[in-house]
Structure formats: C-alpha cells, structure tokens
C-alpha cells in the first residue's frame, strides 16, 4: 500500500468519519535525515611577525555596556598610533570583545562598537581607514572564565594586532 522508505515528505491522510465523533487517522513519518558538514577555518589572524612584536600586548578595556575610551586606553592608543605612523606598511586588526552577560548578538554589536571607537581614535590620529580591519567576537572568546567582575573586566576589551 505504501512504500515507506520512499516517502521523505510529510504525508498525512485524515479520514473524517462523518456520522460519529471519532477521528480515524493514518500518517507516514518524516525521515529527518541529516548530513554533517566540517567547516574549514581560514585563519585570518596570521599577522606578520613585525606587527605582532610591536603590538602583541596592546589591549584596551571598557566598562560594562560602555564603548567609550578610558584615559588609560588613550595612553595605550597613543603609542599604537605613533607606531603605525612610524611604520606606514603595517596594517592593523581591531578585535572587539564583550563579557558574557547579556545576549550574544547584542554583545557582538557591543564588541564591534568598541573596536570602532578604537578605529575612530586611530583615524583621528592620522591612520588611514584602509589600514584598519574592525571586527568583533562578542562574548565568544573570553580571556578569563570566572563569573565575577574581575573576570568580566578582563573580557571587555579590544585587542590590537
């Protein structure tokens, strides 16, 4: 009557028995087959060694749900801007991050705004926009895994590479 295996699609037949209140139903199942895919990651973070050496530890930090640069950040960024001005062949990647509190997509956007704030500062200080790549990892790449302000404050950051 039915070729069970060949039916991949939802197929339901209801026979309504008109003279009684009883429902008579027949249905065939959906197969739900799944194919697994492996993502091949392209590592775009291979920065030249010169650049790595120069900025390896350049990270600036932010307050919760904030994107403005603190006075401490401005000091760090000043030396980054100087280094970039002295080395016009170097490009820079700004990766923004957030702590784990709040929703993932909002945190992705927050990380992006933090990275944009750093980018704006660098542009104001003479760095051409086309030398800067801005991106965010939101809350996906925490440095510290604790659930306290000490860890959170380390995670709200922009890494400059």
């Amino acid at each position: 009557m039915f070729s069970k295996l060949s039916i991949n699609f939802l197929f339901v037949i209801f026979f309504l028995v008109s003279c009684s209140s009883m429902n008579v139903t027949e249905e065939t199942m959906y197969s739900g087959d799944v194919k697994t895919v492996q993502a091949s990651s392209v590592n775009n973070e291979n920065i030249s060694y010169d650049s790595k050496a120069m900025f390896a530890n350049a990270t600036v930090y932010f307050d919760f749900d904030k994107t403005n640069l603190t006075s401490k950040s401005l000091q760090t960024l000043k030396s980054v801007a100087n280094a970039l001005n002295d080395n016009p062949d170097l490009d820079v990647v700004l990766a923004g991050h957030a702590d784990e509190r709040g929703t993932r997509e909002y945190n992705l956007a927050l990380g992006q705004r933090r990275a944009e704030a750093v980018s704006d500062y660098l542009v104001l200080n003479g760095i051409k926009k086309d030398r800067i790549t801005v991106k965010s990892f939101g809350e996906e790449r925490p440095i510290s895994l604790g659930q306290d302000e000490e860890s959170y404050s380390k995670n709200r950051r922009v890494e400059i590479n």
Binding site: F2, K4, L5, N8, F9, L10, F11, V12, F14, S21, M22, N23, V24, T25, E26, E27, T28, M29, Y30, S31, G32, D33, V34, K35, T36, V37, Q38, A39, S40, S41, V42, N43, N44, E45, D65, E100, R101, G102, T103, R104, E105, Y106, L108, A109, L110, Q112, R113, E116, V134, K135, S136, F137, G138, E140, R141, L145, Q147
Partner: protein, 414 residues
C-alpha cells in the same frame, strides 16, 4: 498543494484559538491512562516510555500506568469504564506495534466512547520519532492543540570544537549539522524546517550561512568585507532579516533570498540587532541601544517610513525578543537587578511576567504551538538547555556534548 491541504485539515481540527494562560494545566492536568502497548516487548516498552515522558514533560498531564489501575484491559472489549471513573481518569490510550507500525486508540472515559483510532507507519530505526508521532496524536486529540513531540531543536555546543546540533524535542537523538574550530552563534530554522541559518566565524569574522539539513549544501548569504550576523527568516521563507556592519555600526537589513537585494531598515548610531519577524510577517522586532540601554522596538513593515516604536519599559535590559505564535505577546531576555531571566509580556497587559529564576538565562525560543519555551541556562561555566511551559512546568534537556546554548525550535514537522 500538499502542504496547503494539510493546513486546511489541521485547522478544521483545532476548533478554538490558542489561548495561553500561565496557570493552564498545572491546577487541573488531564488525567490519562497509558496502557501497556502490545507487540514486540522491548519495542513496545520503549515506545510506551517515550510517550509517557513526552506527556509528563508537557506539564499538562498526570499519567497513569498499569500499576496505578484497577483493571488493565488489553482491548476495547475488556475496558470497564467505571474502573477508570473511580480514579477520576479522563482518557485511556490502548496501543500496539505491528511490523514497525503503531496503532493506537484514545477513549473518553466520561463518555465511555472511543474518540480516536490512529495508525502511524514507521520508518526503520526511527523508534523515537514514531513514539513522538503517537504522543502528538494523543496530545492533539485531548487538548485540541497540535503537539510538539515530533518537532526538533537546534542548538550550539562547545567542547574542543563548536558544533551545530539538531535533536528531538526531548533532547535525544542528537545529530551534528556542522563542526568547526571557530564559534557558531544564532542558529535559526527556515519556516519549512528544511534549512538552517546561522553565524559562523570560520572565515575569521562573523558571517551568515544558510545550510540545507538533508544535503549539507551551504552558502554565505551576503558577500562583503564587514561582518554580518543575527539572521531571522520571514514567515514565508522568502526573506532573511540580518544585522550588517558595513555602515560602521550594527544596522538591520532585509535580504530578498531570490534576487539578493538588500533593504535597509534601521538608521541610528546606536546598536540595532536581534531582529525577528511577527507571525504574519508584518512587523520586525529588534533590540536597540538608542535609549541608552538595550530595549525592544517594533517596526511596522506595512507602512513606508515607519518609525521604530519602543515596546519594553521595565528595567534597563530587555533584548532578543520573539513573538508568541498567536501574536498575543512577546518573550525576551530581561535583567532584574543583576539576574538575566526569560520574561513574557502580553500586549494587552502593562506589566511583564518573569518565567525563569536563575542568573544567566538566555536565548528563549518558543515551540510552534506556543506552549513551551526552551532557553539556555548556566550551571557554573557549563551551559545547559532548560524548558518552561506557559503553564509553569519546568524541565531540563540532556545533552552529552559539552556546554550547550542558543536553542531554536523548529516548526511543525508532522
């Protein structure tokens, strides 16, 4: 055509509108007796147990098994309705398994009548799915609402790798759609549940992909040099709303999937993201930081130049909203003092209803029948999935795959 036919048939069965009440079910659950299924012993007890667990998890049933009963009929002739009436049992289910197919009957005890007689034709090695189909038939017959046992949940797990996983609605039968060494976030189903959209960082930056579940074919939906995130399908499956960062800031766009045209929806210097469509596709809700803290806003797509209208006012963090399937309200992530919890707001009420109580509840996704919300919780540093029914019942879903998060509920598959 086939699809349209099914919709018409179902709508003729669901006589009343879906009405969601917080207290529904817990005060007065349906009392149902599930008698031992006949046929192959192992198979019948497996199916029986899955059906019983499914019904219990809904929070709407008190289930009686053979040991709880005065008599245990093997067939229609042996049913003594008074033995069930004494125990205040409302319904009785008889079932049998024959050659991989399940036959089951539902009896209304008060009326002393058979009200349903059903057959589900099995597929080899899909026992769980077979039991879910049986559950949904029983559930629908008794409650008048379509069941969700035979639906699927999509989520992300993280151990040494990130995986995009699809599982049955009870968390069992996990299957991997994608494995990656880089983060995967924001998975969501196409309305026909044949494709998924998600954000993968595999290229070094957030990009939105669409993947066909059965074939594994996948594509990046928009090619540009900036990051792209937060995909949500329109109810008709023709459009995807997205967050694009090409303007130097998170802005919401609508992508026409057939001609790839992009239409910009928001234009504000603060964050606009986490867009989602109303059930009929006439509105987009999103999270915006334009008031100084994340709040939910709505845009009416039927009006040109419509201005975003703020719809949440309680507290300083309301984000990642979704509409109830009957469009009577929204669920979202709400921060009360320091805790993030899942909250519900009906449009005709001026207060919010917190649904959960732990500290880091996120990513609520509602079942297609509108009765259950699945969301992610944190147990220390490990993520787990939990569920809460709108009737107040709570449960956790098992996963053997490390830290779990971002559940997304499929549409009806049956």
């Amino acid at each position: 055509m086939k699809k349209l036919l099914i919709v018409l048939i179902f709508s003729s069965f669901v006589s009343s509108e879906l009405v969601l009440e917080i207290t529904q079910g817990t005060d007065d659950p349906y009392r149902v007796a599930i008698l031992p299924f006949k046929g192959d012993k192992k198979l019948s007890s497996d199916i029986e147990n899955i059906v019983i667990n499914n019904l219990k998890r809904s929070g709407e049933f008190t289930v009686f098994i053979a040991a709880d009963l005065l008599s245990v009929p093997k067939n229609e002739e042996e049913i003594v309705f008074n033995d069930f009436r004494i125990l205040n049992i409302d319904y009785l289910v008889l079932g049998s398994i024959n050659n991989g197919d399940v036959f089951y009957e539902v009896y209304d005890i008060k009326k002393g009548l058979k009200i349903r007689s059903s057959t589900v034709f099995g597929i080899p090695n899909k026992i769980r799915q077979l039991a879910h189909y049986v559950t949904d038939g029983i559930y629908e017959e008794i409650t008048g609402i379509k069941g969700i046992a035979a639906t699927k949940i999509l989520y992300v797990t993280q151990s040494d790798k990130y995986s995009l996983v699809v599982a049955d609605s009870d968390g069992e039968n996990e299957q991997i759609l994608l494995e990656s060494s880089e983060p995967i976030i924001s998975p969501s189903w196409s309305p026909d549940s044949k494709k998924v959209a998600y954000v993968s960082f595999e290229t070094g930056m957030a990009k939105v992909f669409i993947q066909n579940i059965a074939t594994g074919e996948r594509e990046v939906v928009v090619e540009n040099s900036s990051q792209i995130s937060s995909p949500a399908w329109s109810p008709d499956g023709r459009f995807l709303s997205l967050t694009l960062y090409q303007d130097g800031n998170a802005e919401i766009y609508i992508l026409n999937l057939s001609n790839k045209n992009l239409t910009r929806l928001t234009n504000h210097y603060s964050i606009d993201t986490e867009s989602t469509w109303s059930p009929k596709g006439s509105k987009i809700m999103f999270t915006s930081g334009r008031s100084g803290s994340p709040q939910l806003y709505e845009l009416d797509l039927r009006k040109s130049n419509s201005k975003p209208k703020r719809i949440t006012f309680d507290g300083n963090y309301n984000a990642k909203g979704s509409y109830l399937p009957d469009n009577q309200g929204i669920i979202f992530v709400h921060r009360s003092s320091t805790n993030f919890q899942i909250a519900l707001k009906y449009f005709n009420e001026n207060f919010i209803r917190p649904l959960t109580v732990s500290q880091m509840d996120e990513s609520p996704s509602i079942s297609p029948n509108g009765n259950v919300i699945v969301y992610s919780i944190k147990d220390g540093e490990t993520g787990l999935l939990a569920g809460v029914t709108l009737s107040g019942a709570k449960f956790r879903l098992p996963s053997n795959r490390g830290s779990v998060r971002e559940p997304s509920w499929s549409g009806f598959l049956r």
